[in-house]
């Protein structure tokens, strides 16, 4: 058993942290206020990330990525989690699912995404299909060699910057003992395809500037070459690749919690009331103790799950535990930090209110806390017949 990082990992952490502190933090307030990332800043972050060889570092070396282990990548995500989601979107990490590209798809989608020439976005959620992915209504029907897509998607992150989309749509229905379940196929859809439209979505209180968009398909015709993976194999593709985003959410939550905690710790040491630093009051001191304990616990859960992936061990349950615990921990840490700051914590002069708002979505996206609990409990109970 060894709990230390390697020298390479220490250097990766140092580099990414310095990058976030120097290239991301200075623009956060601007992005928060104007609700989007100015193009010049976006390109600058993207170019610097490429120069540093970190662009698409989650991809194997065989396709031009850095070939990081899951553990290395979790550390990268953890440090990125300190900074704004809107800005660090340009510290590009394309969807791993693109590794399912075959034939010409490799040249058209996978390699340009890894090089940073084309950006991708993933579209799954619909107004009537959130956690119930296989209840989706957006559908595709065959027409000769083509597919015709109809329906809509919402809450699509990164869509406003995406050149192409990885879209999950229903291509049939299976009757199962638990009722009808949609068969799902994954399509690669280029921006500008006739019948396909991307528009602004809602204004979220979490991660301002990291927009969510609405996609609509109106008799959108796609040749069969746009199918990613097998026809009707979308659910398998999803399960094979999407664990990674859940681990990413866990790792980012740990990073953000640590940044928030530094504010709490310093404020508890410096803010004086009744003639002494408020940290000397047990009520505050114990909050500090509880916060760091939970942050460390979430950090280890996350890294241990990443380690299991690197060892080729089953990790679904462990990833679900990490996502569940890290996001709920982040909610508590940001809320407690705000309480330590008192009224000032709510003012946008400090980033605390932002951390607190941003934390809220982490328990919802990429599988709600309830879905994570479902995964964990089914993993344990199903083998026992319950």
């Amino acid at each position: 058993m060894h709990f230390g990082l390697t020298q390479e990992q220490e250097m990766i952490v140092d580099t990414v942290r310095s990058f976030v502190e120097n290239e991301i933090y200075p623009h956060e307030q601007l992005v928060e206020r104007c609700g989007e990332v100015p193009n010049e800043i976006a390109q600058n972050i993207k170019n610097k990330t490429k120069e540093l060889g970190f662009y698409a570092c989650n991809f194997p070396e065989s396709v031009g990525g850095a070939g990081l282990t899951h553990m290395d990548f979790a550390l990268v995500e953890r440090e990125l989690g300190r900074g704004s989601m809107a800005l660090n979107h340009f510290f590009g990490r394309p969807q791993n699912i693109l590794m399912a590209c075959q034939g010409e798809q490799i040249e058209r989608y996978l390699l340009p995404a890894v090089r940073g020439d084309r950006m991708d976005a993933l579209a799954m959620t619909e107004p009537d299909a959130g956690s119930d992915v296989r209840g989706m209504n957006c559908s595709a029907v065959r027409d000769g060699d083509d597919w015709v897509l109809n329906g809509s998607k919402h809450f699509i992150s990164g869509a406003e910057h995406a050149d192409f989309f990885i879209v999950f749509v229903a291509t049939g229905v299976d009757d199962t003992p638990r009722g009808p379940k949609k068969r799902i196929t994954t399509f690669l859809v280029d921006r500008g395809t006739p019948g396909f439209d991307v528009r602004d979505g809602y204004n979220s209180v979490s991660h301002k500037g990291y927009k969510n968009c609405i996609l609509t398909f109106d008799d959108c015709r796609l040749p069969k070459e746009q199918v990613l993976g097998e026809v009707d194999g979308g659910f398998a593709v999803m399960n094979e690749w999407l664990y990674a985003t859940r681990l990413t959410v866990a790792a980012m939550s740990v990073g953000r919690a640590r940044r928030c905690f530094d504010y709490a710790l310093n404020y508890a040491a410096e803010r004086k009331q009744f003639g002494q630093p408020i940290g000397k009051f047990q009520g505050v001191g114990f909050q500090i103790a509880d916060m760091i304990t939970e942050i460390d616990a979430a950090d280890w859960l996350t890294l241990a799950a990443a380690w299991r992936l690197d060892q080729g061990l089953p990790a679904n349950r462990e990833i679900a535990s990490a996502k569940l615990y890290a996001t709920e921990m982040l909610a508590r840490v940001t809320d407690t930090t705000l309480q330590i700051f008192g009224g000032m914590g709510l003012m946008d002069d400090f980033p605390i209110e932002r951390f607190w708002r941003d934390a809220r979505v982490e328990r919802i996206w990429d599988g709600t806390s309830e879905i994570q609990r479902h995964i964990i409990s089914r993993d344990l109970l199903r083998p026992l017949g319950a």
Binding site: I12, T15, A66
Partner: protein, 253 residues
Amino acid sequence: MKVLVPVKRVIDYNVKVRVKADGSGVDLANVKMSMNPFDEIAVEEAIRMKEAGKVDEIVVVSIGIEKSQETLRTALAMGADRAILVNAADDVHTDIEPLAVAKLLKAVIAEENPGLVLCGKQAIDNDMNATGQMLSALLGWSQATFASEINVDGDSATVTREVDGGLQTIKVKMPAIVTVDLRLNEPRYASLPNIMKAKKKPLDTKTAADLGVDVAPRLSVVKTTEPAERAAGVKVADVAELVAKLKDEAGVI
């Protein structure tokens, strides 16, 4: 030309420094340590010279404890070619004094024969600002301190120095010792491919005894104290009062 860059592992500049309870020095147990920022600037300058085709090889050397390896790896990840660790202490709290460091560097230089030594003007831990100058004296090489611009041209170098009165430009004969100041450049981040390559670059370890240098301290630290807390300021009612206070109380105008 080969460039030698000495790098020191020091307490990270972001760490809030605490004096040890017995006053014998600064507490370095369990605090983040990093490369001395001025040394980082020296490494960066060496890499830029190499990129400009003026340098063939960059050798970094650190004198300290075993853990100084980490600092050397960071320099290798930035782009240095080779590293030498001179293991001269077991305890992070043991300070190796500038004269001992300069003697060790002299011994390393005798083996390596660099055409130029680039060092930080001082280390941010105890701010001695002495090693570069002592090394120059021991070697009998020319020196240029507090450099904000360096141009090597054949057997001489033109160096702009930041001095109290402004900028001074001097020409020194090579080989030379140049100590670098803050505004010389902005060090790069270690790139991911270079981080991965750093482990494969050679790192030799020597001891102070191998180099025949006695590192026993000649100075004794009498006491270490934290600086007095800054007193609260005062508000003045108007410009006239401010001017009066600057004149009469502060005596600065």
